[in-house]
Symmetry: C2
Subunit: 111 residues, 2 copies
DNA sequence: CGCCTTCCCTAGACATTCTAGGCATAGACA
DNA sequence: TGTCTATGCCTAGAATGTCTAGGGAAGGCG
């Protein structure tokens, strides 16, 4: 399912809030957590991770994965934790506002 | 507030589901409905309306506004009504999936 | 050895929103 | 009368973020 723009950071921050993970792991964590409702393309994921590292929200360390391969583990920084709080509340306020809009109109035909 | 990409169509479709409106009216309807939590920039609104008309979701007719000025009134077509149903359910499924992600992580610090 | 899986990466296409303008007219008010 | 504000429509180009469509290296299994 195509992600709605601007939510990937929020998803990644949440993933890393539970524990440090490498990129591939984040992608599978997201699918597991959402029962495959959401999935990240690698072409979106890695640029997003680099962007977030550049902004100081996450830190990277090379390590060895469970499958015994080299993997870059990302963890949340303090700034990243702050950002998670901001992004979460922004998201919740947005969802609430959209809910008002959906409620304002008569129920759409749901076949 | 900057809109999250991909939601503008949904908002407009909902506005027009309640009644036919001209562009300026849609913008104010959205602010009223969301207690100013959301607002559309004109530079986003008009291109979106043209795009949606091109896709056959809405139809345009020139008329005279309450303020006695010429205004282009948009109304939902049958295809637009279908699209509203699709976009709504897609949005709800997405929000639900993100909720699972937010619940998966420990509560963020909300200062 | 060959293949699948894991794991990382990038360039360019694409879509959508915003910034920053422009233009026209009605009505209020001086 | 002239000017100002609110109404109403529009566009070009920048900025952003995701996806498509690749490429590559290495572990483990048959």
């Amino acid at each position: 399912m195509e992600l709605i723009r601007g939510t990937l950071d929020l998803l990644i921050l949440n993933a890393l809030a539970s524990r440090a993970m490498h990129g591939y792991e984040i992608a599978r964590w997201l699918e597991d957590t959402t029962d495959s409702a959401l999935s990240i393309e690698e072409g979106s994921l890695y640029p997003a991770l680099h962007r977030m590292a550049r902004r100081g929200w996450i830190a990277a360390d090379w390590g060895i994965s469970d499958a015994n391969r080299r993997a870059k583990y990302y963890s949340l920084t303090d700034a990243g934790s702050d950002q998670l709080g901001l992004a979460s509340s922004r998201w919740l306020r947005f969802v609430e506002a959209v809910a008002k809009v959906l409620k304002a109109a008569p129920a759409p035909n749901t076949p």
